[in-house]
C-alpha cells in the first residue's frame, strides 16, 4: 500500500507492519532530547523508573538553552541537575555555557539529527527537524524519560494533511509567511493529532533553513509532525553538518491523505499573527501603524543565519526607533560567529540593536526582553499566547525577520517594502 512520509519513516523504525492511521506502533528512536526546563523532570522520572543507564549515550541530547545564561538561582540549580546527570551517564551531546545554542537550531547544525530519523524531544518545537525529513515530535518529560531508558516509544500513526504550496513569492515574503498563512487557514487545532506533509514548487525552492522554520510551527496548528521530503538540498545540508549515509525520502505516489490544502504564494503579503493565538493571521497592511515597544529577531523559528541576514539587510544604514528595544539573538554560537564574520554585527550595533547570546530567553517570557503591561512586541518567534513574553497585559505579534526589523526602524508595524 502506498505510504505517506510519516508512515514510511515510522516503518523504518518498527518491526510491526504500519497499516495506516490510528494504529499504535512501538518504534525505536534515533534521538531523545530535553532542555533545562524539561530535563530535570525527565531525570526524576528516569530515576523513578529504576533506570540505571540511558539506552545509548550518543542518542540522548541535553541542551540547557531556555534560561541560559542562568537567570536566577533556581534555574542554575536546574542546570546543575542536568549537568550532573549528563556527566554520570556520559552523555555525548550535552550543551551549556559557550557551546549552547537554541536546541532546534543547534542539533541540525551539528548533524545530530537527519532525514529518516525518529526524534522525540521534551520540547514542543522538536517538530522543527521535519524540515530535514525527520519524524520529530514533542512529548512530555516522562515520555522522554521512557525513551531515554528504553530507546523506544509508542506512536499512534497520524492521518496526514497534505499541504501543496506553489508560486513565486514577492520580496520580503518567505517560509514564515507561508506557515502563518497555513495556520490562519486551518486554525490552531486544524492539525490536531495529525501530520502535515509539505510539497509543491514553492517548498522545493525553500532552503533547508526555511523548511525548518515551517516545520517548527507545525505544533502551532496542533500537528504531531511537519514533514518535508528529503531531497538533494537536504543531503547537501546534512553532509555539510558532518553526516554521511543519509538518503532521500519521499511519500509514495497514491498515498492516502486526510485532506489537501493548496496555497498559492504569488500574491501573498507578509503575514502577521495577531494576539493572542497564532491562527489570528492577517496580511501586514491590516496591522500597519500599530506602535511597538520591542522587536525580537531570534528563536528556534527564525534565529538562523538566513534570518540574521534578512534582518541585517533591512537594518543596514538605518536606525532603530528610539522608543523600540530591538533584540537580536543569533540562535547558536556558530551563527553568532557568522554574523560577526559577515559584518552583520556591525550593522546591528550601528542601528542601535541589543545583541544577546544564543538563548530562548524572551520567546517564552523567560528573560532578556520581558514586556511590561501595555507593551507590544513584534517577534520572529512562534507563539503569541496571552502573557507569553511577559505581562498578561502585553501583546505579541508574530512576523518574519524582515518585517520585525523594518518595524523596529519605523516604531510601528510596517511592510518592509514601504520603508
Amino acid at each position: 500500500m502506498p505510504q505517506t512520509l510519516a508512515e514510511k519513516i515510522l516503518q523504518k523504525h518498527t518491526d510491526q507492519e504500519v497499516s495506516g492511521a490510528g494504529q499504535i506502533v512501538q518504534c525505536r528512536v534515533s534521538m531523545a532530547l530535553a532542555n533545562d526546563i524539561t530535563a530535570p523532570l525527565a531525570i526524576k522520572s528516569f530515576r523513578a523508573m529504576g533506570a540505571k543507564q540511558v539506552f545509548d549515550k550518543d542518542k540522548v541530547s541535553l541542551v540547557c538553552d531556555h534560561f541560559t545564561p542562568n537567570k536566577d538561582i533556581e534555574s542554575a540549580e536546574q542546570v546543575k541537575v542536568v549537568r550532573d546527570f549528563a556527566q554520570e551517564m556520559g552523555i555525548t551531546h550535552y550543551y551549556e555555557c559557550g557551546e549552547v545554542g537554541v536546541e532546534h537550531a543547534l542539533l541540525p547544525e551539528k548533524g545530530i539529527v537527519g532525514p529518516g530519523d525518529i526524534v522525540v524531544g521534551a520540547d514542543s518545537h522538536t517538530c522543527t527537524y521535519g524540515g530535514l525529513g525527520a519524524f520529530a515530535t514533542g512529548m512530555g518529560s516522562t515520555d522522554i524519560a521512557g525513551a531515554m531508558a528504553l530507546g523506544e516509544t509508542w506512536f499512534k500513526v497520524p492521518p496526514t494533511i497534505k499541504v501543496e504550496i506553489e508560486g513565486k513569492p514577492r520580496e520580503h515574503v518567505g517560509a514564515k509567511d507561508y506557515m502563518l498563512n497555513l495556520i490562519g487557514r486551518i486554525g490552531v487545532a486544524g492539525g490536531l493529532y495529525k501530520a502535515l506533509e509539505f510539497s509543491g514548487g514553492a517548498v522545493d525552492d525553500l532552503s533547508i533553513e526555511g523548511r525548518m522554520t515551517m516545520a517548527n510551527m507545525a505544533i502551532e496548528a496542533g500537528g504531531k509532525v511537519g514533514l518535508f521530503a528529503s531531497d538533494a538540498k537536504t543531503l547537501e545540508y546534512t553532509r555539510n553538518a558532518g553526516r554521511s549515509g543519509d538518503e532521500t525520502l519521499a511519500a509514495d505516489a497514491g498515498a492516502e491523505y486526510d485532506r489537501v490544502v493548496k496555497i498559492d504564494v504569488s500574491d501573498m503579503e507578509p503575514q502577521i499573527a495577531c494576539p493572542h493565538l497564532p491562527d489570528n493571521v492577517k496580511p501586514v497592511q491590516e496591522t500597519e501603524g500599530l506602535q511597538i515597544h520591542q522587536a525580537v529577531v531570534g528563536s528556534c523559528t527564525n534565529g538562523r543565519i538566513e534570518d540574521m541576514r534578512e534582518a541585517a539587510a533591512i537594518l543596514k544604514g538605518r536606525k532603530v526607533n528610539p522608543k523600540v528595544r530591538c533584540i537580536i539573538l543569533p540562535a547558536t554560537p556558530t551563527i553568532w560567529k557568522m554574523c560577526l564574520q559577515e559584518g552583520l554585527m556591525e550593522i546591528f550595533m550601528e542601528a542601535g540593536c541589543i545583541v544577546g547570546p544564543p538563548t530562548c530567553g524572551p520567546c517564552l517570557g523567560g528573560h532578556m526582553g520581558i514586556l511590561a503591561g501595555g507593551e507590544r512586541a513584534i517577534a520572529t518567534t512562534n507563539r503569541n499566547f496571552r502573557g507569553r513574553m511577559g505581562s498578561l497585559e502585553s501583546e505579541v505579534y508574530l512576523s518574519n525577520p524582515a518585517v520585525a526589523a523594518a518595524s523596529a526602524v519605523a516604531g510601528e508595524i510596517i511592510n518592509p517594502a514601504k520603508l
Partner: protein, 163 residues
C-alpha cells in the same frame, strides 16, 4: 474511581502558558506548581480550585508547549480530572503519564456550566451533572493508554519493562 466536585469552566485553546507561565518553571515541585496553576489565564483564578474540583474546558485544552509542569500544576492544585471538548496532543499524553484523568466529551461539554456540581465516574466513563440532573457519556480511553493506566502510569510501565 469517582470524583465529585465543582466544575470550573474555561474556554477554547487554553494553552500551557496560561496553565503555568514559564516564570514558574524553575521547580518540579507539585505543590509549588499547584499554587500557581492557571496564573497565566487570570491572576488569582487558581485560588477558586478546591480539592477534587474539575476543570471543564472547550476545544484544544493544553495546546502549546510540552511542559509536563502543566498537568502537574493541575494535580498540585487538587484537581484530579479535566473534562474538555478536546485536548492538545502532547498534553493528552502528559496527562495520562502523570495520572491526571482526561475525558474528551465533544459537543456535550456545553451541558456543564460554571460552578455546577458534577460527579465523574472514570471507570464507566460517565459524568453526572448534579445541578441539572443530566448525564454525559465519555469516549472510552484508547486501549493502549488503558494498558499504561493499568500499569499505574508510564513510570511503572517502564519500570516493569526494564526489570
Amino acid at each position: 474511581m469517582k470524583v465529585k466536585g465543582t466544575a470550573h469552566r474555561v474556554g477554547d485553546h487554553i494553552d500551557t502558558d496560561a496553565i503555568i507561565p514559564a516564570r514558574f518553571l524553575v521547580t518540579t515541585d507539585p505543590e509549588e506548581l499547584g499554587a500557581n496553576c492557571m496564573e497565566g489565564h487570570e491572576e488569582g483564578w487558581g485560588k477558586r480550585l478546591k480539592k477534587n474540583d474539575v476543570i471543564v474546558a472547550g476545544e484544544n485544552f493544553g495546546c502549546g508547549s510540552s511542559r509536563e509542569h502543566a498537568p502537574i500544576s493541575i494535580l498540585g492544585a487538587g484537581v484530579p480530572v479535566v473534562v474538555a471538548k478536546s485536548f492538545a496532543r502532547i498534553f493528552y499524553r502528559n496527562g495520562f503519564n502523570m495520572g491526571l484523568v482526561l475525558l474528551e466529551v465533544g459537543e456535550e461539554i456545553d451541558k456543564i456550566g460554571d460552578t455546577h456540581e458534577i460527579e465523574v465516574d472514570v471507570v464507566v466513563g460517565e459524568i453526572r451533572n448534579l445541578t441539572t440532573d443530566e448525564t454525559i457519556k465519555c469516549a472510552p480511553v484508547p486501549p493502549f493508554m488503558q494498558e499504561i493506566l493499568n500499569a499505574g502510569g508510564l513510570v511503572s510501565y517502564a519500570k516493569k519493562k526494564l526489570s
